[in-house]
């Protein structure tokens, strides 16, 4: 007798258990990760609140400082710096001329001039470095008056590089002109060194 295989199912039979198992596992893992992530996020927000607020404050202050700097630069741009520089140099040069002590210079000259040498004229020329170029005319009764004067100037720290521009003899008197660099006593030693170094650099540059 042949058995009867009756299939009374409305749909074809499917075993969905692996799918449901996968869905459950994925859901559980997702839920775990989600909770963990939410906790992480809030912890991060809570723990960094102070730092983030500090950063925001600092960045705000930085912007304020930058604005102030720009404002100062804009104000600076309104100044005619080139003209101011020239005026300052001009005023400083005039003040240096005014501050120049003729009495000290004459005292210095008195101490170095030989008895038979007389000063006839002196005119200063003020340099930017604070030194003064003196153009001087002398009269002497002896023929070595000029040499004595140059030697004595060489021995005096207030005078530098004395150089004759002319010497003549007439009516028993020798006349000579000297150009010499004069360093006022008020100039400090360090300034003299700097001046000397600058002069050396300049002369080196010319070579």
């Amino acid at each position: 007798m042949k058995p009867i295989h009756l299939n009374l199912a409305a749909r074809p039979y499917r075993d969905y258990r692996p799918v449901y198992a996968a869905v459950v596992v994925m859901s559980l893992v997702t839920a775990y990760l989600l909770l963990n992530n939410i906790e992480t996020y809030y912890r991060y927000i809570r723990e960094t609140k102070t730092t983030r607020a500090e950063i925001a404050t600092i960045e705000g202050q930085t912007q304020v400082e930058r604005n102030k700097r720009e404002a100062a630069q804009q104000r600076l741009a309104t100044l005619d710096l080139s003209r101011l520089d020239k005026q300052t140099k001009f005023v400083n040069a005039r003040l240096a001329e005014r501050a120049f002590s003729w009495s000290t210079l004459l005292d210095e000259l008195e101490s170095i001039l030989a008895d038979d040498v007389r000063l006839q004229s002196v005119s200063p020329r003020f340099q930017d470095d604070g030194t003064i170029i003196l153009t001087m005319s002398f009269r002497s009764k002896s023929s070595d008056g000029m040499i004595t004067t140059i030697n004595r100037m060489n021995g005096d720290p207030q005078f530098r590089n004395p150089f004759p521009s002319q010497e003549s003899f007439a009516e028993g008197t020798y006349s000579f002109d000297l150009v010499v660099q004069y360093i006022p006593v008020t100039m400090k030693k360090s300034e003299i060194v700097r001046t000397s170094a600058r002069a050396k650099r300049k002369s080196g540059g010319r070579r």
């Binding site: 499917r14 969905y16 692996p18 799918v19 996968a22 869905v23 994925m26 859901s27 893992v29 997702t30 990760l33 989600l34 963990n36 992530n37 992480t40 996020y41 991060y44 723990e47 960094t48 730092t51 983030r52 500090e54 950063i55 600092i58 960045e59 202050q61 930085t62 400082e65 930058r66 102030k68 700097r69 100062a72 630069q73 104000r75 600076l76 100044l79 710096l81 003209r83 101011l84 020239k86 005026q87 300052t88 001009f90 005023v91 005039r94 003040l95 001329e97 005014r98 120049f100 002590s101 003729w102 009495s103 004459l106 007389r118 000063l119 006839q120 004229s121 002196v122 005119s123 200063p124």
Partner: protein, 197 residues
């Protein structure tokens, strides 16, 4: 077949899982490094603030420095140079008074006026805002008198510059002194109303 039937559900679940996994590895696992990065950002912000503060201070100091120089120059122009109208007669009177105080009486004075002091290097020859006036005179007297006159001129409250001196022996003990003085006056047209040059 069964997987294909539940495709939509599985894909959605997969995506949510993937997103959570990415977030987990980005934030949870690297939590410490993120905190460190934030601290680093704070330090960077602090150093940027310090730099900005230094730059601002420097800019303000530079401006104040130039402004002070401008004020000082203006002070010299207004107080020391002054204008010719305000100071010329006072200066001549002062020179005469000092000559008299030294017992030296010049026979004559000569006055010269030079044009405006120009700024070198400018095509238009822009004025510096001042001009020069020279006074020259000769006196005869002893060396002590000459030294006294020079000393008095140096100590004078007037802005007088001794430009050059000439000495000549007249006779025994007497000298002829030629004095070349100069002074400066501010141009009256210079704009000093707004405390600017």
């Amino acid at each position: 077949m069964i997987w294909r039937e539940k495709k939509t559900l599985l894909i959605i679940l997969g995506l949510i899982l993937l997103a959570n996994t990415l977030f987990f590895f980005t934030y949870r696992v690297q939590y410490k490094s993120r905190l460190d990065a934030l601290d680093e950002r704070l330090e960077t912000a602090k150093s940027q603030l310090e730099q900005a503060r230094t730059a601002r201070t420097q800019a303000e100091r530079t401006f104040q420095g130039y402004r002070q120089v401008e004020k000082d120059v203006l002070l010299v122009f207004n107080e020391h140079f002054s204008t010719q109208t305000e100071r010329l007669t006072m200066m001549i009177a002062e020179v005469k008074r000092l000559a008299l105080a030294s017992n030296l009486v010049p026979a004559s004075y000569s006055f010269t006026q030079q044009g405006e002091k120009k700024i070198e290097g400018t095509r238009a020859g822009e004025s510096l805002g001042a001009h020069e006036v020279g006074i020259r005179f000769n006196v005869s007297g002893s060396y002590q008198q000459v030294r006294r006159l020079i000393n008095l001129l140096e100590l004078s409250q007037q802005f007088v510059i001794i430009n050059g001196i000439g000495l000549n022996a007249v006779d025994e003990g007497a000298l002829s002194l030629s004095l070349d003085l100069k002074t400066l006056f501010r141009d009256e047209t210079a704009d000093t109303k707004n405390n600017r040059l």
